[in-house]
Symmetry: C2
């Protein structure tokens, strides 16, 4: 196999072959021909179809290999059964990228599943990177590439901009593109990725981030087996400063069921996706509006230095809802400096407001210099990082004057300046043009503006906060052996694995049949927990296999008889290896779990024990491995995190020790990733000094 194909060939092909080109320009296999020509694609368009010697007034080739000239991209629209052969043909022709529009693969079930498996293999063998199948194709605006079918093939006037996007559903994705463009967003590359047999959304997002012309990217995805790669996407987004928005759908049972018959992408667990987003600085969205609004703000090309936002309105009501939403979303509306307030008080009427958010009042209708002066004063205040002006829905000439004032003010600063305004375009064309020329973003409502500004402020904060974090190197630990096969380890065996990875477990002893309790317990201090020991009994409490608070050796002997008898009665076939006698631990109860997720791989869960976990499902996740900062974030984001500070006279819990344990668990999970099915460390006691695993269950696969 040769070096990785450069994505430039895909985004900006010099020549395109259409394999399965149709005589009928209305058919799916004809639409790309029409669209490429209509859009003004400047490169060569080669038609491939063994049925015709020529087509649409140009030669038509029997195979791609027969073209005899370099081709950068193929559009494949032959029936499903012929797609693999078409890809082989591309390989022979040296075409490195193919977009397969054809449907009827795994999403159709039956024979489609085998066809898709074959396609995956053939793509690899032929060294052809494949987008699709079951997709609607790509639009690359700068190169005028409309390699697609459906409504988008007719939208050849799509505004060019700096947004690139990928979506698994072509119809829905291009509807989003359409709706966003109607609201003023310009696009660069749009890819409908369909079944993602070869190229996945995360890989395509990375390619967008590498593209210098893309300033912001978004994805709409039902799921992906390539989910772990999202962490790399997020890290690259932070490093490049290009926000990546992800709309993850199919998060409910109903949604996942619908997705199964759609692109059949693995939908995965919504909570893990959310954890991965949080962990890597990706931005979750769940409708079109936030995409539009964030894209508009990014297009201005200015970055707020911090969370402090200044606001001024011509209508106090806007300022109030704006302030509400800013605060709720984590922005700050700091007081203006005394100098600013004093200057504003001289010009703003008493029934307005000279505080942040300022209300210059409808007085601007009589005298627009009120706005001009206020803008200058507020933009000079060092205490604000960006400025929002709320114009309600003023129309006509007042709007035009206001736009001029804002454009002039924006030109004098490098702080982001944006406008919440819903004036009718039909009555305010001039004002819109002035703001567009000045590159001042206009968002229709103060609420939407506050949300978008807050999201971008969080992204900037994440760059500082997460940008420098490195996934830790997973160091080798003390050697140990695991039994082969899908075995559930006993508590003692499970704890031995933990201990080998440096994780503190309760001091304890196993006592087999006939062994002396006195000798085994010599080095332990009461009170003890006495638990039946058996690989066959995963949930010891459920069978009466646990006695807590046992005070001495005689008690231990009695307890051992009791737990073994209980276990035998409940599970007659279980092989019982004796009992485990542990020192009792105390402290705040938490649980740590490891999931080996099919999409994300090893993932660590942290939950508060007792009432909070069982009643509130207060659990948080991080994809393993991770370092101390992430571990601390996990602890802090539990709903009941306040408990760690000490509650009703309890001492504060040692969160540092817990964070270190989480890091060690994440490293252990990575080390065992090929063997681990799941792991439960429950409870872990977090004391005032140190924390210790009091029970553990390792399930191998």
């Amino acid at each position: 196999m040769t070096a990785a194909a450069p994505f430039d060939q895909l985004f900006s092909p010099r020549s395109i072959a259409i394999i399965g080109a149709s005589q009928d320009l209305v058919r799916i296999s004809g639409q790309p021909i029409r669209a490429l020509k209509a859009a003004g694609f400047k490169g060569a368009i080669h038609l491939v179809n063994p049925k015709y010697p020529s087509l649409h007034g140009q030669p038509c080739f029997p195979t791609a290999a027969a073209i005899g000239k370099p081709v950068d991209l193929a559009i494949v629209a032959v029936p499903a059964a012929g797609v693999s052969e078409a890809i082989r043909d591309c390989g022979r022709a040296g075409i490195r990228f193919a977009i397969v529009l054809t449907a009827g693969f795994r999403e159709a079930g039956g024979a489609g599943v085998a066809l898709e498996a074959e396609l995956k293999l053939v793509a690899l063998q032929s060294d052809v990177r494949v987008i699709g199948p079951n997709c609607q194709g790509m639009v690359a605006v700068p190169a005028r590439v409309w390699a697609c079918f459906g409504s988008i093939s007719e939208e050849i006037d799509l505004k060019q901009g700096e947004v690139s996007c990928v979506f698994q559903s072509g119809g829905f994705g291009y509807a989003i593109v359409n709706l966003a463009e109607l609201q003023g967003v310009g696009f660069r590359t749009c890819i409908s990725s369909g079944n993602e047999t070869d190229m996945t959304s995360p890989e395509i997002l990375e390619a967008f981030l590498d593209d210098p012309g893309t300033k912001i990217a978004f994805a709409v995805m039902e799921g992906t087996p390539d989910a772990r790669r999202l962490l790399d996407v997020g890290r690259k987004a932070l490093a490049t400063g290009k926000p990546v928005l992800i709309w993850k759908s199919a998060n409910t049972e109903a949604g996942a069921k619908a997705a199964a018959s759609h692109t059949a992408n693995m939908t995965g667990r919504a909570d893990l996706f959310r954890a991965a987003f949080r962990q890597s600085g990706l931005i979750e969205v769940d409708d079109v509006e936030p995409i539009v609004d964030i894209a508009k703000l990014v297009a201005q090309g200015r970055r707020a230095k911090g969370r402090r936002i200044g606001a001024l309105s011509i209508s106090g009501g806007s300022g109030i809802v704006f302030a509400d939403r800013c605060v709720r979303e984590g922005l700050e509306l700091p007081p203006f400096s005394p100098k600013t307030v004093a200057a504003l008080k001289k010009i703003i009427p008493a029934f307005g407001s000279s505080e942040n958010p300022a209300d210059v009042t409808a007085g601007v209708f009589n005298d627009m210099s009120l706005l001009t002066k206020t803008l200058d004063i507020v933009l000079e205040d060092d205490g604000i990082d960006q400025l929002t002006i709320m114009l309600a829905s003023i129309p006509g000439l007042p709007a035009e004057r206001a736009a001029e004032a804002i454009a002039a003010a924006a030109a004098k600063t490098d702080k982001p300046v944006h406008v919440a305004w819903s004036g009718r375009r039909s009555k305010s064309e001039a004002a819109y043009r002035i703001l567009e020329a000045a590159e001042v973003p206009v968002i229709p409502t103060p609420v939407r503006l506050a949300q978008a500004a807050a999201i971008l402020a969080r992204f900037e904060a994440d760059r500082a906060r997460l940008g420098s974090r490195k996934a830790p190197v997973v160091a080798a630990r003390k050697a140990y052996e695991l039994p082969p096969g899908a075995v559930t380890l006993s508590e003692a065996e499970s704890k031995a694995v933990l201990a080998a990875h440096g994780i503190a477990v309760t001091r304890e002893a196993t006592v087999g049949a006939g062994e002396s309790y006195i000798g085994k317990l010599a080095r332990l201090s009461p009170p003890f927990a006495v638990k039946v020991l058996s690989r066959d009994i995963a949930h010891k409490s459920d069978v009466g296999g646990v006695k807590l608070g046992v005070r001495d050796v005689i008690g231990v002997e009695a307890a051992a008889i009791e737990v073994i008898t209980n276990a035998r009665r409940a599970k007659p076939d279980a092989k019982i290896d004796g009992v485990l006698v542990s020192e009792m631990a105390s402290g705040l109860e938490v649980l740590i779990g490891v999931i080996n997720d099919p999409a994300f791989g090893p993932t660590v869960a942290l939950g508060l024990g007792g009432v909070l976990t069982e009643v509130l499902r207060d659990v948080t996740y991080r994809i393993a491995p991770f370092g101390l900062e992430d571990a601390r974030d996990m602890i802090a984001e539990l709903k009941g995190a306040r408990l760690f500070a000490g509650y009703r006279g309890q001492p504060a819990a040692d969160t540092g020790a817990l964070a270190r344990m989480l890091v060690d668990v994440s490293a252990m999970a990575m080390a065992l990733k090929d063997r681990l099915a799941e792991m439960d460390i429950n409870p872990v006691f977090v004391g005032p000094k140190g924390c210790v695993a009091a029970d553990a269950l390792v399930v191998l696969k």
Copy 2:
């Protein structure tokens, strides 16, 4: 005073006087003259201004009283200092409604506060109902009344419809009207209510509900001292079946601060507003889009009979996000009936979906009968109550064909049928017109449609669930006396008040100095709680004034000495009345509180005790008084509600007894509403049978 003025005079006046009419039509006092004429108001317009004998080519009167003809409505635009006199003049002229545009009242502080107090009194004395001051006026579309200034005074083409609205901020409110109308919403009466010195938002909302032409109403409010009346609004909304949406702003400190300098309306506690909405079927919104979308769905005039929604798309991706949001918002996507699925399977391709949400695929581009047939099949399924069709962004002729199919299908059913579609209007005018003519609502995104449909389904469910609930009659209880003044009662006194209202308290005895413990404790069973008794010590635990689990009389005596000594040391000036010896109670710990809120009056809080309250602020509210159903709702909506069912082997708690206690507390709160500052019953122990107040604190005012 005469009978209440009929709101018809306000919404549909036959004649209007403009008091303070200006020569200059650009000024605030001139704009309504221009707007009324431009809008084509058919009634008489009388100008009042002592400066001019005639104005704008018509007679001008020195006073309203001098007009000498019946006038239904006055618009007052004289300077703030003259407003009260203008209202007196209205009274003398027999004008029953006045809209005061003038600003400079309490929102301006200083002399404005006194001016507003005077205006309130004058309005009452003159029998004139006042809207404003500090407002932008009213638009009543059917009667062509543009009694307003600002941008809205130029929007005389506002589409007529069935939506009425009231907002405290004129600029912001009319921007919402504008934005909603741009998206296809038609309006009836819009009122900017400003400072609400006389007429408040809740009163105006009630008037809207009484107006036969209004089918849906919304309010945007910063707050109101008339908040309790919102419960009546909600009940009337449920009774009439007209949804009322409320956007309550100023919910954060920053927002409330901004509101103070705006209309200076009392902002109040957001959590209590939310409780009132939940309690009475009002619908909370927090941006313009939900208002638009719900209004569009209501305009169709069809009601879904239940929560079961059917969906079909031409793009599977839309169906997935739609399903996600429906489920999250409480709608059901039930499976289609086997008959429906069988029929669909015959026409929908294998790579589509014949399950709910159905995906008919982009195959409709080739053959629109696919959609027609699918619509007929799905609408015949008895298992669905309403149907959403998702058209992504298809343009042109396919859109037109799809619109025809949908219009035809909608005409054959009385189930709600609506469309999620973002086709460009410029390329799809015909399709939009077809759907508009068929009264099929179009919402741009599936997510927004799901949200709006879910909100309406909840409203219908609330009509069934809450509609029949009556606020209970507060019965008189055993007589008792309260000390005068702002006194904090001791625990024993507080519990005596509870007991008088039939609320179970722990069995207990007070023991004063020198009294015999043996005699007092004879009828009580150990263990005991021993607590210092003093009106001056509200928080007994904080001063070491409580000993729990005391086993016998000797222990009680020792504990009494200890708690009194501790209390004396901590609060040397406290008057100590002895100790209270209570039986210990057990069960699940909850707390019940009463707030006497300035806006809502007596309000009951319920929280889970212990960790859950302190860590999670798991508290819910209801405005008092309320009955058993509301009390049960309160219990069920606690985040930790699962605990009542019994946790880790605990018996289930007697929620019936707790509900009865909540109802009794609400009745007590109403009975004491003129004396009660606040009340805390904490803890209440909810046992397997019955529940009991173990501590209580009544603060009088």
